[in-house]
């Protein structure tokens, strides 16, 4: 079967959009993290495809980097999720809105 980089890139793009839609629509932080992982893997797949297309090892090297980065990102992210859950008793991003601008609330006090 001949190698078709275009088809692989289309798969990668579909994966990326799936992840993006997950990030945008999911309420739970854990699912958002999972969606981010999907997006990262989509990027990795695109790198590998590009490496194979040019016959260079750089794409696979970059995928290994992305794996290592994703692993560390997930460990930090899950630790933050644990803390968030402990403090706010919820993982719903619609309720976790502590960092909004509160000028009006202060001025009304």
């Amino acid at each position: 079967m001949p190698f078709n980089p275009q088809a692989v890139l289309i798969v990668a793009a579909i994966l990326f959009v799936l992840g993006l839609v997950g990030v945008l629509t999911r309420k739970n932080i854990i699912f958002i993290l999972v969606s981010v992982e999907i997006m990262l893997n989509a990027a990795g797949l695109a790198f590998v495809a590009a490496g194979a297309r040019w016959g260079q090892p750089d794409g696979q090297v970059m995928f290994l980097f992305i794996l290592a980065m994703a692993a560390s990102e997930v460990s930090v992210g899950l630790a933050l999720v644990m803390q968030t859950h402990r403090q706010h008793k919820t993982l719903d991003v619609q309720e976790l809105r502590e960092l909004r601008d509160k000028t009006e609330e202060y001025s009304s006090i």
Partner: protein, 629 residues
């Protein structure tokens, strides 16, 4: 001998430094020791130097001490140089000696105050500044002392700063004397431009050669210096700060009125007498201002009800006599009146302070009364001071100095009968309001219960000052009675002799008239306030007399006048200029950033999705630029 000079201002300065740096942690007894001790030690040194000065006059009739160079430019130099001649000696003696008595009195008077150290620190700095003023060898150093005095008066008038009225009084004193200070500074600039030096002995020798008598440049210099003196000495039209300066504690009033501050103007004119003599216009202006002031202030004193305000107006009036004497060319008489006035005015203020404190801070004389037998020490000392203020013939120091001024107002070189007439009217008024004050406060029924009586630390300075208020005049007798003129012999080592006109009436007539007028004033006060008070009731019933009384009570309405002429237009101008075109720029910047803040803070809503969309739009934008850009 010369080396001791620097100690006189240095001791109060050291007292100020110690008290202001460590005063918070010192017990009151040590604070009192440092505060009163430094000035007392300075007084002892002054007396020692004075004895030497009198016994063996130094060459040039002055001790000098050069401490160090202060500033040096191409053609101008000013040093921290001290100089003690006959005129300075008189002033330094009064400042340190009366100042020491006031400090000793204050140790008891202020004993309940929580800012004990701040009080004595300011008082010491006040004395130090005044000493610098009179001991300075050049006018720049003198100006340093001059401004230091202004600063300390501000600090002490507003000493009880928690009451807004006191702060307003302190500000008023500062602003109004500042008008005079500015005029004086311009005068000094002109003097330097003309002569190229501000060293006092050099000015004294160069001025007569440089200036034409009566030339406009020297007249301007003298008038500007006179304006400076008017500000500090509370002469018309810059007198309005002094009655309000009564907001400070009583010892402060005593210090301002007797030893420091208000006599600075008298000193300045006497010190610069060569310049003034070259300008007949300035001399006439000095005499006229003195005469008008003494009359205006005397009338105001008649209507006051606050014991300290009566004394304040009497000070303005007595300084008016000094200006009058200087203006007519009776230099030594003016300084002699300063000398006696310092004793009796310090005495009157300190005694008034004792009365006020014993009567639970009651200032209104009509709520006092009947204190004659209950506070005998204060009564007898106050009587001695009042006698000197009224210039009772022969037995009071005030008589000897004021009699000289009255006599010279007519007969001295620049004197004329008009000045004498105003001065003699002032003498009548002075005797009248002094009698009124004595009778209302010490005779009649007791209206306020007496609290704590003054202790020894307060009564002993009163007694010393009372004795001096009687005997200080005996060192200078009228020429036709006794040939004794120790004081004028001393000050005429520096000041010129008083020249008399041709063909004036004999001196004895003036003395008899002055004595008669004084006694008439006392009798009028006695009749109106003691013997036949119904006359006063009738006067109070007539609207004309009542409005006259209110006019005098308000000090001839000068405060209202200045309010209408200067303060209100100024406020009006500031109000209409509040939002001018220059403000629009500043305000525009503020409004713009506020609007932008409102817009952008809308985007910071805390929603994670919102942020992700933001990032996404950004990425698409950047990618779009890459692809299609």
């Amino acid at each position: 001998m010369n080396n001791l000079l620097a100690l006189i201002p240095a001791l109060p300065l050291a007292g100020f430094l110690i008290l202001s740096l460590t005063g918070r942690h010192l017990p009151k007894s040590i604070i009192a020791g440092i505060g009163a001790g430094s000035v007392s030690a300075a007084a002892l040194i002054t007396i020692f130097i004075g004895m030497q000065f009198l016994q063996s006059p130094p060459t040039g009739n002055a001790y000098t001490q050069t401490l160090w160079q202060w500033m040096q430019t191409e053609n101008f130099s000013a040093g921290i140089d001290l100089r003690m001649d006959a005129l300075t000696l008189v002033f330094v003696f009064i400042i340190t000696f009366v100042g020491a008595l006031i400090h000793i009195y204050s140790t008891a008077f202020m004993r309940h105050d929580r800012d004990y150290a701040r009080f004595f620190a300011s008082m010491n700095l006040f004395v130090c500044s005044m000493l610098l003023l009179v001991m300075a060898d050049n006018l720049v150093l003198m100006y340093l002392g001059w401004e230091g005095v202004g600063l300390c008066s501000f600090l002490l008038i507003g000493f009880w700063y928690e009451t807004p009225a006191n702060v307003a009084a302190a500000n008023k004193a500062f602003y109004i004397t500042r008008i005079g200070d500015t005029a004086m500074a311009i005068g000094l600039f002109l003097l330097f431009r003309e002569l190229g030096t501000l060293n006092i002995p050099e000015i004294m020798t160069q001025a007569p050669a440089h200036f034409q008598p009566g030339a406009s440049n020297v007249t301007w210099i003298a008038l500007l210096l006179l304006a400076g003196g008017m500000g500090k000495s509370a002469q018309l039209p810059l007198q309005t700060w002094l009655p309000d300066a009564m907001a400070g504690p009583s010892p402060v009033s005593a210090l301002i009125h007797a030893a420091t501050m208000v006599t600075a103007g008298v000193y300045l004119i006497a010190r610069m007498h060569v310049v003034f003599q070259l300008s007949p216009v300035a001399m006439a202006a000095t005499a006229a201002i003195g005469a008008i002031t003494l009359f205006v202030a005397g009338c105001s004193a008649m209507a006051q009800t606050d014991i300290k305000r009566i004394l304040a107006y009497s000070t303005i009036s007595q300084i008016g006599y000094m200006f009058l004497a200087l203006g007519v060319g009776a230099w030594s008489a003016g300084i002699f009146h300063f000398f006696t006035h310092a004793f009796f005015k310090a005495l009157l203020f300190l005694a008034a302070g004792a009365v006020i404190e014993s009567l639970h801070h009651e200032h209104n004389i009509f709520r006092m009364g009947g204190l004659k037998d209950r506070m005998p020490v204060v009564f007898w000392t106050f009587l001695a001071g009042a006698a000197a203020l009224a210039a009772l013939p022969l037995i009071s120091a005030g008589f000897y100095s004021k009699d000289q001024i009255l006599w010279y107002a007519w007969s001295a070189q620049n004197g004329n009968p008009m000045l004498w007439l105003v001065a003699i009217a002032g003498a009548l008024i002075t005797a009248f309001y002094t009698t009124r004050l004595m009778i209302v406060v010490f005779w009649g029924d007791m209206k306020t219960h007496i609290g704590e009586r003054p202790g020894k630390a307060m009564t002993i300075p009163l007694m010393i000052l009372a004795v001096l208020s009687i005997v200080a005049g005996f060192i200078e007798w009228p020429h036709n009675l006794v040939h004794l003129s120790l004081f004028s012999d001393l000050v005429q080592r520096y000041l010129p002799e008083t020249l008399l006109q041709e063909g004036h009436p004999p001196e004895i007539i003036f003395q008899l008239v002055a004595a008669a007028v004084t006694l008439l004033g006392v009798y009028a006060g006695y009749v109106l306030y003691y013997k036949n008070t119904s006359i006063l009731e009738q006067w109070k019933a007539s609207p004309a007399m009542l409005s006259l009384r209110n006019f005098f009570y308000k000090g001839w309405g000068f405060d209202d006048l200045y309010d209408t002429v200067f303060v209100r237009p100024f406020y009006f101008l500031t109000r209409i200029n509040k939002s001018d075109v220059f403000d629009l720029l500043n305000k525009g910047i503020a409004t713009t950033s506020q609007r932008l803040n409102e817009w952008f803070s809308f985007s910071q809503n805390g929603s994670l999705r919102w942020y992700v969309v933001g990032v996404l739009i950004g990425i698409i934008f950047v990618l779009g630029l890459q692809i299609w850009g």
